[in-house]
C-alpha cells in the first residue's frame, strides 16, 4: 500500500458538477448511471431526413434557465450558444458544491481553465444561415463563437482574475483542463482553479461528418440491436461496437491548494495525484498503443504508485473498433494480463460528449470514489479480443483509493489522470 505524502501544494478537488444526457443535475446523472441507465435516444435537436446517416444522440434533458439568476432574458438572447449557458451553470453549481465564492477567496489567485473542444460552432452556423438569407449576422456571433469566451464568461461569472485561457485537446480537453489547473496550483501560480469543459455537438453538419469519417454510430441494419432501441447504440468493448454516439454534456471541477482548502475549511473530495500528457506522432484519428501506454505510465509515475495500487479505471472507451482495442491492449501491457483491476466505460451510458467527456468522467469517478461505487459499462457483449475485468450492467460496490481516468483525443493528444481519495 502506498503511503501518500501530504504537500501543502497538492491540488485538492473541493467541488464539482455535471449535466449529462442522463439528467440535468449531477445527482440525477449519477443515480441513473449507478442503475445502468442510458442517456442515448433518437436525435431530437433537429429532424434528420430519411437518408440522414446518424439518427441517435445524447441530449441533455430538461435544461432550464430559471434557476440561474445570472442568466436573465437579455443574457439568453445575447449569449445564445448552449455552450455558454451550460458552462456557467455547471461552474455556478460546482462553486456552490465547493462552498466557494471566488470573489471572497482572493479572485486574483483563482485561475479559469474551463474549456470546450467545439465551442460555439452553433453561433457560426447561425451566422452562415443569416448570410445566405441576405441578413446580417447576430452582433454576438463572434463572442459566442470565440472559444476563449467560454473561459472568459466563467471568469466574469465567478469574478476570478487569475490566469485564464481555454486549453483544447479534442476528446481529452476536460482532462487537460484539470491537469493544467493542478499544475498551476502545484507551482504556486494560483491557489484555486476552475476546470472542466462543455460541448454541444449535436449539429447536423457535425453528425454527418462524423458519419462520413466512420466515427459515429449508424444503424442501417434491422439485425443491429440498436436498430429499434437507441439506448443500445453506445457499446464500448463489445464485439459489435460500431462507433461513438455524439452527445451533449458539461462538467466543472473546482481545485484548491491543500493549504488553502484547509484554511478555508473546504471539503477534500479527492486529490489530482498523477498527471500524464503526451502525443502519439502517429495518425490524426487512429490511436497508437505505445504512446497510450506511455501516457498511463507517466500518470502513475507522477502519482508515485504502481498499476497494482489502482482500484478502478475509468476508460476512455468511445465504442470505436480501433480505439477500444488499443486501450484494452495498452491496459493489459501496463497492468499485466493477469490484472483484475475493474474497468468501466461511462460513454456506454452517456455517449461521447467530446471535450466535456473526460471532465464528466472525472466528476463521476470522484463522486463514485466518495460513495464507494464503481460505475459500469452497459450494453456489454464482450469482445473475445478484449481481456478486461469489466464492471457490467450496474455499479459495483468497491472501495477506491486510487482511480485512473483515461482520455485520448483526435490528433494524438493524450491525457491520463490519477485521482486519490484520502482517508478523513
Amino acid at each position: 500500500m502506498v503511503k501518500s505524502k501530504r504537500d501543502p501544494r497538492d491540488a485538492v478537488v473541493t467541488g464539482y458538477d455535471a449535466m449529462t444526457p442522463l439528467a440535468f443535475t449531477l445527482e440525477g446523472s449519477f443515480e441513473a448511471a449507478v442503475e445502468g441507465g442510458s442517456g442515448v435516444r433518437w436525435t431530437g435537436r433537429f429532424d434528420p431526413d430519411e437518408d440522414f446517416p446518424v439518427k441517435v444522440s445524447g441530449e441533455i434533458p430538461d435544461a432550464h434557465y430559471g434557476d440561474f439568476p445570472f442568466y436573465n432574458e437579455r443574457d439568453q438572447a445575447n449569449w445564445f450558444s448552449p455552450v455558454i449557458f451550460s458552462s456557467l451553470a455547471v461552474v455556478h453549481r460546482a462553486l456552490a458544491h465547493a462552498g466557494l465564492d471566488a470573489r471572497g477567496h482572493n479572485p486574483a489567485r483563482t485561475a479559469v481553465l474551463f474549456s470546450s473542444a467545439i465551442g460555439g460552432l452553433d453561433a457560426m452556423i447561425d451566422a452562415e444561415k443569416r448570410l445566405s438569407q441576405g441578413r446580417s449576422p447576430h452582433p454576438f456571433t463572434n463572442p459566442n463563437g470565440c472559444l476563449n469566451l467560454v473561459a472568459g464568461k466563467v471568469s466574469m461569472l465567478s469574478g476570478a482574475t487569475g490566469p485564464c485561457f481555454c486549453p483544447v485537446a479534442s476528446c481529452a480537453t476536460g482532462n487537460v483542463s484539470i491537469a493544467l489547473g493542478a499544475h498551476f496550483i502545484r507551482s504556486g501560480m494560483c491557489d484555486f482553479a476552475i476546470c472542466g469543459a462543455s460541448d454541444f455537438p449535436v449539429l447536423p453538419s457535425l453528425l454527418a461528418s462524423f458519419a462520413s469519417m466512420n466515427g459515429a454510430f449508424q444503424s442501417h441494419r434491422p439485425d443491429d440491436r440498436a436498430f429499434e432501441n437507441p439506448a443500445m447504440a453506445s457499446r464500448p468493448f463489445s464485439r459489435d461496437r460500431k462507433g461513438f454516439v455524439v452527445s451533449e454534456g458539461a462538467a466543472a471541477v473546482i481545485l484548491a491548494a491543500r493549504e488553502c482548502a484547509e484554511s478555508a475549511s473546504l471539503v477534500n473530495r479527492g486529490i489530482v495525484r498523477g498527471i500524464g500528457m503526451n502525443g502519439d506522432a502517429h495518425h490524426y484519428v487512429k490511436p497508437h498503443q505505445p504512446t497510450v501506454e506511455q501516457c498511463m505510465r507517466l500518470a502513475l509515475k507522477d502519482a508515485g504508485i504502481g498499476p497494482s495500487d489502482l482500484d478502478y479505471v475509468s476508460a476512455h472507451a468511445a465504442s470505436t473498433r480501433a480505439g477500444d482495442l488499443v486501450e484494452a491492449k495498452a491496459l493489459n501491457t501496463v497492468f499485466g494480463s493477469s490484472s483484475s483491476v475493474p474497468v468501466g466505460a461511462l460513454k456506454s451510458q452517456i455517449g461521447h460528449t467530446m471535450g466535456a467527456s473526460s471532465a464528466i468522467e472525472a466528476v463521476m469517478a470522484l463522486l463514485g470514489m466518495g460513495k464507494k461505487l464503481a460505475l459500469p459499462t452497459i450494453n456489454l457483449d464482450p469482445d473475445p479480443d478484449i481481456n478486461l475485468n469489466h464492471v457490467t450492467d450496474t455499479a459495483a460496490q468497491i472501495d477506491q483509493k486510487f482511480v485512473l481516468s483515461n482520455s485520448f483525443g483526435f490528433g494524438g493528444t493524450n491525457c491520463c489522470l490519477v485521482f486519490e481519495r484520502e482517508e478523513a
Binding site: 431526413d49 440522414f52 446517416p53 479572485p107 474549456s115 467545439i118 465551442g119 460552432l121 457560426m124 451566422a127 452562415e128 448570410l131 446580417s136 456571433t141 463572434n142 463572442p143 463563437g145 472559444l147 476563449n148 469566451l149 473561459a151 472568459g152 464568461k153 466574469m156 469574478g159 476570478a160 482574475t161 487569475g162 490566469p163 485564464c164 485561457f165 486549453p167 483544447v168 485537446a169 479534442s170 487537460v176 502545484r186 507551482s187 453538419s205 457535425l206 454527418a208 461528418s209 462524423f210 458519419a211 462520413s212 469519417m213 500528457m277 503526451n278 502525443g279 502519439d280 506522432a281 495518425h283 490524426y284 484519428v285 506511455q294 483525443g409 483526435f410 490528433g411 494524438g412 493528444t413
Partner: protein, 426 residues
Amino acid sequence: MKAPLNRRVVICGYEMATCLGAGLDATWERAVNNESGIGWLDRFDPGEYSVRTAGQIPDYDLTQSGLFSERELGYWNARFIAMTVDLSKKALEKAGVAVTDENAHRIGSITGSAIGGKDAYENALNVIGERGPSRVSPFLLPNICVNLPSGMASIKLGFTGPVYAIESACATGAHAVAESAHIIQRGDADLMIAGGVEFPLLPAIVYGFGNMRTLFRPRDSSDRAYEDASKASRPYSADRRGFVLAEGACIIVLAEAEYAAAHDLPVIAEVCGTAMNSDAGHYTQPRAQTITRCIRGALEDAGTGPDEIDYVNGHGTSTTIGDQVELECLGEIFGKGISKIPVSSNKSQLGHSLAAAAALETALSCECMKRGMLLPTLNIDPEPEWDHLDYVPEARKAQASTVLVNSFGFGGANCCIVLKKREDGD
C-alpha cells in the same frame, strides 16, 4: 508531487508568415523599411460592406517543404493545419534541432488559433447545401479540431511530448509561449514548439467583427486611409478607428537553457518572466486594473524593475478604448520614465492576426534584440495627452536587451512576457 526545478527557458529559433512576406526574412526586410502589409481585402468580395482593408499573406507554397502533397492539402483544407506543420519544421531547422528516437518524447507543441478551421467548415456547409450530407469530407472534423495543427506537427515531425492547443483569442500566442515555458521549467519537456496561426478572412468573421464595430472603416472620404489602405492600422494615433484583421502565422522553438548549451543550439533570448490573468470584466472592453497587475506580474516573475525595460512591444491594436487603456497602464507602471522607453506596435505594419499576433510580436522582439534594431509604429499621430511617448515613428538602430511583450485578449485573457537578450553560451 515533483519539486520545482526552476529550469531556465531560451528561444532558439522561429519562422513566420505575415502580410509583409512569406517568411521571417521577407517580413523583416519590409518591416525595417517601414512598409505596411495592409491592403484591400480580396479573399472574398465584400460587396458594399464598409470594411475593405485586410492583411493577407502573399503566396506561400505549402508543398515546397515536402510535408504535404497537393492531394493531402485537398484533405487538409483548413489552412491553419498545414501552415502550422510547415512553420514548425522550418522553426526546428532554424533552431538546429533534429527530432530523433532519443529526444522525441522530450519535445512537445502548444499552438493555437482563434478562428481555427472555420474555412474548412464553411466549405462543408456549402457541400451540404449543394450535394447533401453524405458528401461531407471525412476530414472535416479533424480539420476543425483546434489541437490538430500541433497534433499533425507531431505526426509529420515525429515528436511525442505534450501536445495540445490553447485558445485565448488575441493573447493565444503569448499563452502558448508562456505555457511551453512552464512545461520546460517543470521538467515535462526539454524543447517546445509554440505559436499561433490565423486565417480569419472569412465573410462571417469579417462581418461579425465589423458588426461589433471593432474593425477599421474610414469615417468618410477625408480619412487618411480612404484611398490608402496602408494607413488604416494606426495604433496609438489620435484618429485610430479599430483594428485591421490579418492573416498571420508564427512558430517559436523554446528550449531548456542547459539542453540548448549542451546541443549547441543558437540562443537568441531568454523567457525571463511570464504572467497571465483575467479581467473578469467585459467581453471586449479591457480593464486597467487587471492589465496593470499582469504587466507587474511579468516584471516580478523576471525579477526586473520597470527601469530595466528598454523596449515595450505593445499590444496596440488600434481600437479607441484598447490602446487608451494600455497607455494608461504603461503610464501607471513606468511613471515619468515612460517617455524614455520606446513603445511600438507591430500591428501597425501587420494588422491584427488574433491568435498569431502575440507569437509574431514575441519573435519580432527577439529579432529586434538580435539585430539591434527597433521596428516602428507606422502611421503614428499621437493624442496630445500621450505625445510625450517614443512610439518609434521609423525603424531605427537601438540595442534593446530587456523587452516587455504585452497581449490582451478579447474575453479578458491577458498575458505578458519579459524577454532578455542572450547569445550562444550566455
